[in-house]
């Protein structure tokens, strides 16, 4: 019945079933449309709520002589927020009023402020409201410069940098906007979200088929190779649909703010998405086949997914210094290369030799991962053990 090991028709049949069954699922709808909408909505609402405070009452003990007014609305963050300043004589009384919710915070400006820059803030929260610190900062600058500089200089001190960035390449130079600088980070997150979400779909699809005891039947009709390739193909199409929908979400922002998306970066991101997905999916296909319960599978799979976060953790280093040895190392590790290379390429032009080396490592890793995973898959899909640990799984693999 199996004939050839690789049968394109069977791979397509398995792949198309994966696409149809996954896009129809509620989880897909939630992960692709509802989830991002909720996240975006909540972050907008959250940031509005953060600065949507009508009044803040701040107690102060001014030993420096700041001449704090009774109220002020001068701050960049909470445009509609009025700060009321109430003078205190004792810290104890201020603390008591904070606890009684008469005031939101108590500021103590020591006598030696000029020498030390030290200001003490008492508050019920672990970090004070940024509206308070922003206003206080302005009041201090005003006091320090009063009568010493003109209005123009004063405004420059308040807002010293109005940066315009131009990226220079052999083709010339072009102005970068704030959003275009954020684009590489967006790419990396998109890649992370897509690979994580797809890996999750892949693992649950395999574990579910084992749990429902369909694997044995499937293997009678298609070889392990066809089954694996079909699943990976199908779920990668699901991923492309997902990314497509996310890009559609981002399109209005890109158009409205005229964000220039470099074609080469977009191609790079697509190539490394495919390479990264193929690497992770082949690896996870083999590993997840060992487990019959999603809970057992997550023990092993979570660390692999977390490794992906490494380049995102090093994102600052990579973007500020794309040729740092850490950035280079991450570009040659198959787990992290897709992120590292896309991030680096988006801030600098990588030498062709580095790109070729990284791509070769990825391709070789994918091939090795596929070979190992097929072996693992053949053993794993017929294994029905409860509470399988990694140690036990390794023992079984070597026994078989």
């Amino acid at each position: 019945m199996k004939g050839m090991k690789i049968d394109a028709k069977k791979i397509l049949t398995i792949g198309s079933r994966e696409v149809l069954s996954n896009v129809k699922r509620k989880q897909f709808l939630i992960a692709t449309i509802i989830g991002p909408l909720i996240i975006i909505g909540l972050s907008i609402v959250g940031s509005i709520m953060m600065f949507d405070i009508k009044e803040i009452k701040v107690g102060y003990i001014d030993n420096f002589g700041l001449d704090i007014p009774n109220k002020t609305i001068e701050n960049n963050l909470g445009k509609n927020t009025t700060l009321y300043f109430i003078k205190y004589d004792s810290v104890e009384k201020g603390k008591e009023d904070i606890l009684n919710k008469n005031i939101d915070a108590l500021i103590v400006i020591p006598k030696d402020y000029l020498e030390t820059g030290k200001v003490i803030i008492y508050s019920t929260t672990k970090s004070p409201n940024p509206i308070i610190t922003d206003t206080l900062s302005k009041l201090l600058i005003k006091k320090l410069l009063e009568g010493k500089v003109d209005n123009k200089t004063y405004n420059r001190v308040i807002n010293p940098l109005n940066i315009e960035v131009y990226s220079v390449s052999k083709k010339g130079f072009e102005k970068e906007t704030f959003l275009s600088q954020l684009l590489p980070i967006g790419f990396a997150f998109l890649l992370y979200m897509a690979i994580s979400s797809l890996s999750g779909i892949l693992v649950s699809s395999i574990v579910e088929e084992k749990q429902n005891r369909i694997m044995e039947l499937l293997l009678c009709y298609a070889s392990a190779e066809n089954l694996m390739f079909g699943k990976i193909l199908g779920i990668s199409v699901v991923g492309l649909i997902q990314i497509g929908i996310w890009v559609l979400f981002a399109l209005p922002i890109i158009v409205i703010y005229a964000v220039k998306v470099s074609l080469s970066i977009a191609i790079f991101a697509l190539i490394y998405f495919v390479l990264g997905y193929l690497f992770y999916s082949s690896l996870l296909c083999g590993l997840s086949s060992l487990f019959s319960h999603p809970k057992d599978a997550s023990q092993l799979i979570s660390p692999i997914i977390i490794i992906q976060l490494l380049p995102i953790m090093f994102m600052n280093t990579i973007m500020v210094n794309p040729n740092h040895y850490m950035a280079k190392i991450l570009s040659y590790i198959p787990f992290t290369a897709p992120y590292a290379v896309v991030l680096r390429e988006s801030v600098t032009q990588l030498p062709l030799s580095e790109i070729l080396l990284s791509t070769t490592i990825m391709v070789v890793s994918i091939i090795v991962s596929f070979i190992l995973s097929i072996k693992l898959f053949k053993i794993g899909v017929l294994l029905y053990e409860e509470n399988l640990t990694l140690k036990r799984a390794i023992k079984i693999i070597f026994k078989k």
């Binding site: 199996k2 044995e216 009678c220 009709y221």
Partner: protein, 271 residues
């Protein structure tokens, strides 16, 4: 007649454990062949090898025709419609669209579940899910049908329905391999059997021949009454040589009696 399946010296190890030890058998078209043995005897491993699910083994296997397989471990896509599941497996088996549709309608009617065509699998009773599973194994009109415990989970009416269908398939010239614990069904259905014990073939052939292989004999030896079960040929020698001492001579058991005497308690390990 050319056999549909030829197995020669089939041996399979899982790690150090030998789960199949040099077994050989043949299955012909128009034959129902029973594979018997206790849990852990190696039946499922043998069937999985024949179905191509286990690819690594020692020995020679020849399969002449398409295989349909009903595994012991049953399962289908629970959230999908009966028709979609059947179409998927039809496509996997390499069938054309119109062939699939015809076959689906034929088998759903035959198994009296045509009304459930657009139901989700999870909405069906266990027995009806079992019928859908059976259709998956025959949808592509296979030449060889491997049925691992086909009657489990079915009520009396549906057992009869399935038995009739199996006979019908046999009459159509299909080679059918049947593995079941229900020995009375094996006796009624199977033409020949292979009995496995701890991975070794202990009996192979027609059921009546196998059952005749064991004889029960009671005879006098030096004035002492001896009661023994022994292979038929040995018992026959005693009968010929000392006919005057023989008190009782019985040949043949039911398959169930033979199974209990020969196989005894099985190894409960799964293979």
């Amino acid at each position: 007649m050319k056999p549909k399946i030829v197995v020669k010296n089939l041996t399979k190890y899982f790690g150090d454990k030998k789960v199949l030890d040099n077994i050989s058998f043949e299955v012909y078209e128009g034959e129902i062949f029973g594979l018997l043995g206790h849990n852990g005897a190696g039946k499922t491993t043998t069937l999985r090898i024949l179905a191509g699910i286990i690819e690594e083994y020692n020995g020679y296997i020849e399969v002449n025709g398409r295989i349909g397989y009903l595994p012991e471990e049953r399962g289908l896509y629970r959230d999908e419609k009966v028709v979609d599941v059947l179409k998927f497996f039809g496509r996997l088996a390499g069938m054309k669209k119109d062939e699939i549709n015809k076959s689906i309608d034929y088998w759903l009617n035959k198994l009296k579940i045509a009304n459930y065509k657009n139901f989700k699998i999870k909405e069906l009773s266990k027995g009806n899910q079992q019928k859908v599973q059976f259709i998956v194994s025959v949808i592509h009109n296979p030449d060889i049908l491997i049925l691992d415990e086909p009657f489990s989970g079915l009520d009396v009416v549906n057992v009869k329905l399935l038995k009739d269908i199996i006979f019908e398939l046999k009459n159509m010239g299909k080679a059918i391999i049947l593995s079941t614990h229900q020995l009375e069904k094996v006796e009624k259905l199977c033409d020949r059997v292979l009995i496995l014990k701890k991975g070794k073939a202990v009996h192979y052939g027609k059921i009546e021949d196998i059952c005749k292989k064991i004889a029960y004999i009671e005879y006098l030896e030096n004035g002492k009454l001896i009661k023994k079960e022994m292979p038929y040929n040995e018992a026959l020698k005693i009968l010929k040589n000392r006919a005057e001492d023989i008190i009782k001579f019985e040949v043949g058991y039911s398959l169930e009696e033979l199974f209990l005497k020969e196989i005894g308690e099985g190894d409960e390990d799964r293979c």
